[in-house]
């Protein structure tokens, strides 16, 4: 947490909306990516991030430690993702179909093994439920330590570790078993 961010949080907590806007602009892209990874759906991710940030503004005065702003917003956003996922189960919904080569289009050319890595990570992520994906995203993408992932999701650290290990194990297994030519990922219909 930078001094600037701490100052912005303190100002926003006092009702300075411009300060809050700066905080939002600095974090919204990362939160959006995290929500997309968890929900696998751009529209739902958009809703979740908006909900998380809206709650952050509304309830900012409940945040006792400004230094915890990032972790707090991660928690609000991930919980918003999980709430949306619960409601999504109430009705069938088309999952956004995103082909892997499109996701990578903006990147520098990848060696084949890097593409394969991404494809198998993508495949394993698809098989996980939202909570499983949240664990991966909170730890590996947002950089929270395991104890904070556990606290954020309300599960024991042992569960976080075991689910991380299981996901990594699947990735290793897929890597060993994968065909040399990667195929395109595809979406589908889930309930």
């Amino acid at each position: 947490v930078t001094v600037d961010q701490r100052w912005l949080v303190e100002r926003a907590r006092e009702g300075d909306h411009d300060a809050f806007a700066e905080l939002v602009r600095a974090s919204v892209a990362r939160l959006d990516a995290a929500a997309r990874l968890i929900l696998r759906d751009g529209e739902l991710a958009r809703d979740a991030v908006q909900e998380g940030l809206f709650r952050a503004w509304r309830d900012l005065r409940s945040l006792r430690e400004p230094d915890r702003f990032d972790a707090w917003v991660y928690r609000l956003t991930v919980n918003a993702c999980l709430d949306l996922a619960r409601r999504r189960r109430r009705r069938p919904m088309e999952v956004e179909i995103v082909e892997i080569h499109e996701l990578f289009a903006s990147n520098l050319p990848d060696p084949a093994d890097a593409v394969a890595d991404r494809e198998l990570v993508d495949a394993v992520m698809r098989r996980l439920d939202e909570q499983g994906r949240s664990i991966i995203v909170l730890h590996y993408f947002l950089g929270l330590p395991i104890s904070e992932v556990a606290t954020t999701l309300g599960i024991p650290a042992g569960t976080v570790k075991s689910r991380l290990n299981r996901a990594l194990g699947e990735m290793r297994s897929e890597a060993h078993a994968s065909a040399p030519t990667p195929s395109l990922a595809s979406g589908g219909t889930v309930a």
Binding site: Y140, T151, I155, A191
Partner: protein, 419 residues
């Protein structure tokens, strides 16, 4: 670089690629919305957000020792009755295993140790300390024993101690993955433990808590991840299971015989919160459960214990998500999780079990789980935050109070006999 660490090291970069997208175009509309919204005043927050560094790990995905329902696996130990020798050598009177009792101590875990607190005096005392990571405490139904989990590498060890934490002894050691589940049997001598069986099903064992570990396997069923003993005598067990990939609700005799269907297994397996945390009413006549179907899950439903008259409990004009029921020991109130359509978050609702009410309907920031006090005078609400203070709600909607100690969200209220 070894294969085992390869993905771990690359994952942040790979995930950044997978989640990459254009800069969100909704920041401005969001900020317009927040600019038009007033912040909540600080005094309206009963519990402020506590530091996440104050460790509080808990099982959230399955029922725990107290009343708890939620996603895939967890533990808890529910409390009932009371036995033990008084100082003069007289035998202490014990409450019946079901129904109302007098409030005893509240046990909780904090930073790997087990404590007991008195909500009236605000004092708390250490029950089980030491360097080990202990959590998930739960009193036996008679209040005389305490069970808790201890982390041990890849295993979880189930311990039982006297109610004051003395004489802790291990009675079972189980792989932590998948997480086992445990709950006291009504006799306060055995713990019902569910673990993964070798054949891919789940196995219900009865572990003797009095003589260090005799184990008797009661039943096996795919998907079974909790059991509920039926009041008033505990002779039947309620459980959910997967049959041909579909969730259903079932009951059997407490010895595993005579399995029977309460609700036909028709709910698709992916609706994996269906029936989770189903609970009997204290008279054993009805069952509250999370209803799911092919279109989604969950809504709070109620069914007679024989499977008849299944219907939605929450009024039809409130068709949002609802579930995670906890019925007060006197059978008068039910607390459950809810959210109305288009409302973010999940709040706590309290209604009368006859369906009238609600008495309480909180905002979306409600705690993660709740349980009724043994005498039904309060609802113990535990927030999702680590190191937070649990709240004692008045089930009639009166003022709430906050317990004076912070804890992990694993709490259980001891039941003792009325004086």
């Amino acid at each position: 670089m070894s294969g085992d660490t390869r993905f771990e090291r690359k994952l942040p970069t790979i995930l950044a690629d997978l989640g990459a997208g254009p800069y969100p175009d909704y920041a401005d509309s969001l900020l317009a919305r927040t600019a038009a919204t007033r912040q909540r005043p600080g005094w309206t927050f009963i519990e402020r957000w506590f530091p996440m560094s104050a460790l509080a790990e808990r099982m959230a995905t399955v029922p725990r020792f107290p009343l708890r329902a939620a996603v895939v696996v967890a533990l808890i130990i529910l409390a009932i009755v009371a036995v033990a020798l008084s100082a003069g050598g007289r035998q202490r009177r014990l409450p019946a295993p079901f129904g109302p009792a007098t409030n005893g101590a509240i046990t909780y875990s904090d930073a790997g140790d087990i404590f007991a607190g008195d909500p009236l005096t605000g004092t708390s005392r250490l029950l089980v300390g030491g360097p080990e990571k202990d959590f998930g405490p739960g009193f036996s139904p008679d209040g005389s024993r305490l069970a808790f989990w201890r982390e041990a590498g890849a295993d979880l060890r189930l311990f039982v101690a006297n109610e004051d934490g003395s004489d802790p002894r291990e009675i079972a050691s189980l792989p932590a993955d998948p997480l086992p589940w445990a709950n006291w049997a009504p006799d306060s001598r055995n713990l019902a433990v569910i673990r993964a069986a070798d054949d891919g099903t789940n196995q219900l064992d009865l572990v003797d808590a009095t003589d260090s570990g005799s184990v008797r396997t009661v039943a096996k069923a795919a998907g079974m991840d909790f059991v509920q003993y039926r009041p008033p005598d505990g002779r039947e067990i309620l459980y959910r299971a997967l049959v041909d990939g579909k969730w259903g609700l079932f009951a059997m005799n407490a010895d595993g015989t005579n399995p029977r269907t309460i609700i036909e297994p028709t709910v698709p397996g992916e609706m994996d919160m269906s029936f989770q945390g189903a609970v009997y009413t204290p008279d054993g006549a009805r069952i509250f459960y999370q209803h799911g179907d092919a279109t989604g899950c969950c809504q709070l439903w109620v069914v007679n214990a024989d499977g008849g008259d299944a219907h939605s409990f929450v009024p039809e004009d409130d068709p949002g998500w609802s579930g995670q029921p906890a019925v007060s020991p006197d059978g008068q109130r039910i607390a459950y999780r809810w959210n109305a359509n288009n409302e973010p978050g999940l709040g706590l609702a309290v209604a009368r079990v006859d369906g009238t009410g609600p008495v309480i309907r909180s905002g979306p920031e409600a705690g993660d789980w709740w349980a009724g006090a043994p005498d039904s005078s309060k609802i113990l609400r535990v927030t999702e935050d680590s190191g937070a203070h649990a709240t004692l709600l008045d089930p009639d909607g009166g003022p709430s109070t906050t317990v004076p100690w912070s804890s992990e969200p694993d709490l259980d209220w001891q039941r003792i006999a009325a004086p």
